[in-house]
């Protein structure tokens, strides 16, 4: 019996395959468009029938049901198409349906009217505006007078929902720091922010963050690399069919180039920025919808205008107003030669004319040279009346900062925004502010809306989204790695993106940057009986703060060094000398250097060099008899010089070149993830391959990603390196737990949390335990989700 049943199903499957199931998009829609949509879509409902959507079709007309699923012959639609009666046959005007077309409709009805989800036949009733629109601001609620709050509060009041309330200061600082520079606030930054009682402290913190131009560019480079599909490796590079714009892009972000100028330089480029419009050139034949000209048409539409020109570059779009001709005309602006329209990869015989898609704003001269046309296009794109251009950009930034676009998805500015006033207000304001991207970020972040608690979502957001507050974001692959490196004090050795990250006012000094010299320091201890411990100190007088100051030191067996009361270095393994950046620890005038040295047994000795530079000069402060020393509680006396560096039981333990490993102030900041080549870990975590323009990263952690995080070599290496730097510092374990926790989560651990972490880390001397601790901290959702 079962065998029979199975065979029956099988045969059914076979017959439908042989005949072919009806294809709504390619078979049915063309018929409906040709004969029916003129009177029955959009706002037109002749005879009470609209066929914008399947639901509307099924709702029927004033004469009742029009299409009965599964019953073509009984359906009014088919009856009227066949009718011989002049008064009722359909369509009333134009050619009658061909037999082939009727057959398609009958088959479609008989197969249950399959209709691909999301397809609307008529233009939607909402037409996206082109021009900017000034918005009259509603009155402020409860003194919340930031324009964004006035608009959002009015909407929420209407819906009778309350605003989510402000996020705690620490949550704000963590979010703001990750959003502006892609890093975590340090425990010191957090502490001073929390202590600050200034009512404007948030605004000031935002300003401080925005002023960190290198960190800002390092972070926003990720988003713009995705958008402009710029990368250091990738498809097209092996054949010379692709060109980077990294140097130009980084510099533009760093100097906060006005966005209109930024786009003009991309559309009408110099050699440094031409990689974007030139797209990817493949060897061999490509589909006509993928030529460089069409890539140009698609990419500038998507990136700058939130228009999906991908459908229209193959045929007139089914889903929006864009037509094949418009896609090709736009492409023709870029084309070196005459461009023939191809419909679904077949030549049409029709030639494209260089034309821009919003003639309301003016047009390009098709007779002008290519460079001239591009210049004209750049001007039209950034035309002050092109509201589409500004709306698209502010929508992207809103999504970055607030978790979801006002129009969603961010590439579909055709879809109705959930708050038109907000989108339009921001767009106009952005233009009035001189297309200043940092000002836009500052403006959004100074709103109470941005500073609110993020909302808790119990499910994925749908089409019916309504604003309730900021939405938590997942760290990007780059943010995750950058912050892991930041907390654990490591960074990649080399950047793939060749960009200028030097600090301008120190450039001059860079030329004479630090040069390693042979170590002249001596091994020192207090005079007399060695004992287990020794205290060492020296005061150095500085007439000016050095541009850079670096330490290299070690002690047999352990030491802690403080400069002006702040701990700067420690070690518990004499074979692993410590290098550290002392630039920020030193000040003008007297500086007290204190060392607590400890010997576990055998030989005792401490050795250090501090190398300072200023004005191209290099000065070394070395451990020698000029230091003071005493056993704990004893008298301060001149330190005893035990040995020269290279003599004694320790050999040449200090390598002067090691000081180059730390930044030392005047140097280039540590390399960031956005500047290194994509690797397995980042790819797994959602950094795209950048063959295509990408405008959103995956929000959720997948199982395969979790496997990579749990056991992948790359992640394990990052944890190992981080653990080693901690182990070298030789801090007391409780201190280490607190510091890591505060840095990672911007809050102190609760007792229960501290207990868990303490049990993992033990006495804090085992690098493996630190590694495990780091892993379980970095893997916490609280860490990876930016709330």
């Amino acid at each position: 019996m079962r065998g029979f049943f199975v065979r029956g199903v099988f045969l059914l499957g076979l017959s439908s395959l042989a005949k072919g199931e009806v294809d709504f998009v390619h078979e049915v829609m063309p018929v409906l468009r040709k004969h029916c949509t003129e009177c029955h879509t959009g706002t037109k409902k002749k005879g009470g029938l609209s066929i914008n959507t399947r639901a509307e079709l099924l709702a029927g007309s004033e004469f009742g049901e029009v299409a009965i699923s599964g019953k073509a012959k009984e359906s009014l639609m088919i009856k009227l198409i066949h009718s011989k009666d002049d008064d009722e046959w359909m369509p009333p005007k134009g050619p009658r349906l061909e037999a082939r077309e009727i057959e398609v409709l009958e088959r479609w009805i008989n197969e249950g009217l399959p209709w691909e989800e999301g397809i609307t036949l008529g233009e939607s009733s909402w037409e996206p505006p082109l021009k900017p629109r000034k918005v009259k601001l509603p009155p402020a609620h409860q003194g919340r007078d930031h324009p964004i709050d006035r608009i959002l509060d009015a909407g929420m009041a209407q819906q009778k929902v309350t605003n989510p309330g402000l996020a705690p200061d620490a949550v704000f600082l963590r979010r703001a720091t990750l959003d502006i520079v892609g890093l975590l606030p340090t425990p010191a930054e957090l502490e001073s922010f929390l202590k600050d009682s200034d009512v404007d402290k948030k605004a000031k913190a935002i300003n401080r963050l925005l002023a960190r131009d290198i960190a800002y560019a390092d972070h926003w480079l990720t988003m713009w690399n995705d958008l402009l599909r710029n990368d250091y490796t990738g498809t097209g590079f092996i054949t010379g069919g692709r060109k980077q714009i990294t140097g130009w892009l980084y510099q533009s972000l760093r100097e906060n180039k006005a966005y209109d100028q930024f786009v003009r330089e991309l559309i009408s480029p110099t050699a440094a920025s031409e990689g974007f419009i030139n797209g990817i050139k493949w060897r061999g034949d490509v589909n006509s919808s993928q030529t460089r000209e069409i890539q140009f048409s698609q990419n500038i539409s998507q990136v700058f205008l939130g228009i999906n020109m991908k459908c229209a570059s193959c045929h007139d779009s089914f889903i929006d107003r864009w037509k094949l001709e418009e896609a090709y005309n736009l492409a023709a602006i870029f084309s070196d030669k005459k461009l023939e329209l191809h419909r679904c990869d077949k030549p049409t015989g029709k030639m494209a004319t260089a034309r821009w898609i919003f003639p309301e704003l003016g047009n390009v001269d098709p007779k002008a040279s290519k460079n001239e046309r591009l210049k004209q296009l750049a001007a039209l794109m950034t035309h002050e009346e092109n509201g589409r251009f500004t709306r698209t950009l502010v929508n992207r930034y809103w999504e970055r900062l607030m978790g979801r676009g006002i129009a969603h998805p961010v590439d579909a500015l055709d879809s109705k925004p959930w708050n038109e006033d907000l989108l339009d207000y921001l767009a106009v304001r952005f233009a009035e502010d001189g297309y200043d991207l940092k000002k836009l970020v500052r403006f959004i972040m100074n709103s109470k809306a941005y500073q609110s608690r993020s909302v808790i979502l119990e499910k994925e957001l749908g089409e019916d989204y309504q604003y309730r507050g900021p939405i938590a974001k997942r760290m990007t692959a780059e943010q995750l790695l950058d912050t892991i490196w930041q907390v654990s004090g490591v960074s990649p050795d080399e950047a793939a993106g060749k960009v200028d990250r030097t600090i301008p006012d120190k450039k001059e000094l860079m030329k004479t940057s630090i040069k390693p010299q042979p170590i002249s320091a001596k091994w020192i201890w207090h005079q007399g009986k060695t004992g287990k411990k020794s205290q060492l100190r020296k005061t150095i007088k500085l007439t000016e703060v050095p541009v850079s100051a670096r330490l290299i030191a070690t002690c047999d067996n352990a030491f802690v060094m403080k400069v002006n009361g702040t701990k700067v270095a420690s070690s518990r393994d004499w074979q692993k000398p410590v290098v550290a950046d002392l630039t920020k620890a030193l000040r003008k005038g007297d500086n007290l250097i204190e060392v607590d040295a400890e010997m576990f047994g055998g030989s005792a000795g401490f050795i250090s060099e501090i190398i300072m530079t200023r004005g191209g000069k290099q000065v070394a402060v070395v451990s020698d008899g000029s230091w003071q020393a005493r056993p704990p509680g004893g008298q301060w006396k001149s330190a005893a010089e035990l040995h020269d560096h290279s003599t004694g039981p320790w050999g040449k333990i200090l390598d002067p070149k090691q000081i180059l490993a730390v930044s030392g102030g005047g140097n280039i900041p540590p390399v960031r993830a956005a500047l290194v080549k994509n690797d397995f870990l980042m790819r797994s975590l959602g950094r795209p391959h950048r063959d295509q323009v990408v405008t959103s990263r995956p929000r959720d952690l997948t199982t395969l990603q979790a496997i990579d995080l749990a056991n992948g070599d790359l992640m394990a290496n990052h944890m190992q390196k981080g653990a080693q730097t901690f182990a070298r510092k030789g801090e007391e374990s409780g201190e280490m737990v607190d510091w890591i926790f505060r840095h990672a989560f911007s809050r102190a651990p609760l007792e229960g949390e501290r207990t868990v972490l303490s049990s993992v880390i033990g006495d804090g001397r085992d690098a493996q335990s630190i590694e495990d601790l780091l892993w379980l901290v970095f893997m916490q959702p609280e860490y990876q989700i930016v709330r």
């Binding site: 076979l14 061999g284 199982t703 993992v760 959702p781 990876q784």
Partner: protein
Amino acid sequence: MMTPEEQRTRRDFVKKLSAASLAALGGSGARALADAAEVKHPEAKADSCILIWLAGGMAAPDTFDPKRYFPYEKGLEVDKILSTFPAIDTAVDNIKITKGMEKIAQVMDRGTLIRSAVQPDLGHILHSRHQYHWHTGYVPPLTVAAPHIGAWMGKVLGPKNPVIPPFINIGQRLEGVGEKEELKAFTTGGFFGSEFGPMNLPYPKDAVRSVQPPKGMEPGRFANRYKHFKKLIDQNPNREYMSDFQQESMLRSMESAHRLLQSEEKGAFDLTLEPKESVEKYDTGRFGQGCLLARRLVEEGARFVEVTTEYIPFVHFDTHENGHSTVDRLKKEIDAPIAQLIRDLEERGLLDRTLVVIASEFSRDMMIEGRPGSNAKDQSRARTDKLTEMKQYGLHRHFTGGTSVAMFGGGVKKGGLYGKTADERPLLAVENPVPVEDLHATIFTAMGISPKTAFDVEKRPFFATKDGHGKAVMDVFA
């Protein structure tokens, strides 16, 4: 065997299981155009698929489709040569293949040989581009990232065993080899997102490391670390976030990952658990080990496994010179393990429900680059009219006009032969040409996936076979 009803129920179950992963697609924008009820999937003939990928352009006349043969001889005019290997008999009367494939010849009665697969010429042969086409059904460049066929299977069918990743890719390094960026471009879940991307196992012997704690970490320490991870979650004061779906799905993924890493099934990844005599039957090198690994993974419930001889420009089947001697060596690597894989699957009763496909991105020819009339650049490195040295003896040009694909198990006819290439140059498919989209439709149909299955990307439908037009070659099925 499950009834269709049971299968559907199972599919729903799997769907629920992967609800979190579906949610993951929010970001990448893929949404099923129609739910399972609306797409009429054919009844599945196979539950798992193994793709044996002979990367680099396997010359059909030197492997599965013997033609006029001349042994190497100085002064021989190359345009006379069609094959550089003589034909041998197989277990099927009307099928001959070439010398060096004796073991495969003996299992040809378990499958069907297609000799008329064809590929577009693309105007210039760039292997990775043709491979992209073969693996995704779409010719790059594209406006969206197309998913690999393994990703389609993972997406539409879900994992067969929820613990084993549904898409596993064996033998291809993605770092340190030429055209690596191009290889990565299709070795991906594409717009489905990384949940559906491959688990890459370039070295079969090291596969077990992918499911073990990181190097140097004792299993006890690994388990402990996760235990503490969960303890820390329990101590987290922000209880309200526990109902947040993003946090929930993150924790669920961590849990599934650790479930695999601590599961019994992970033994499937460990070749040292295989009896020695069995290993010997496969172990011709990385490829042979890969076949063995594929068998073990399918036994444990992998959905789609690809095993490759590996693509490296100008190496292995990418014979720009020394074609004959290279293929001679490769046959020694592939013949035993492929035949053994078929026999083992059969012996374990798995062959009926496992589709094994042996394919390559195109064929090769002694004379013609691309196809007749193509303007593709001749890339042979051993051009000559008459043979003067051994390195000129072989099929050194890329040929897209007719190539062989072998299919075993999974409801495929036993001892079947489909399609034909010409007896004289050009060796074009002269009967029943099968383009990539039809070949994919056939594979998908065997797996119970409609070739018209579509997902909505940026409001456009994206189909399992190009524009939903792939037609399954029903003649290859029993």
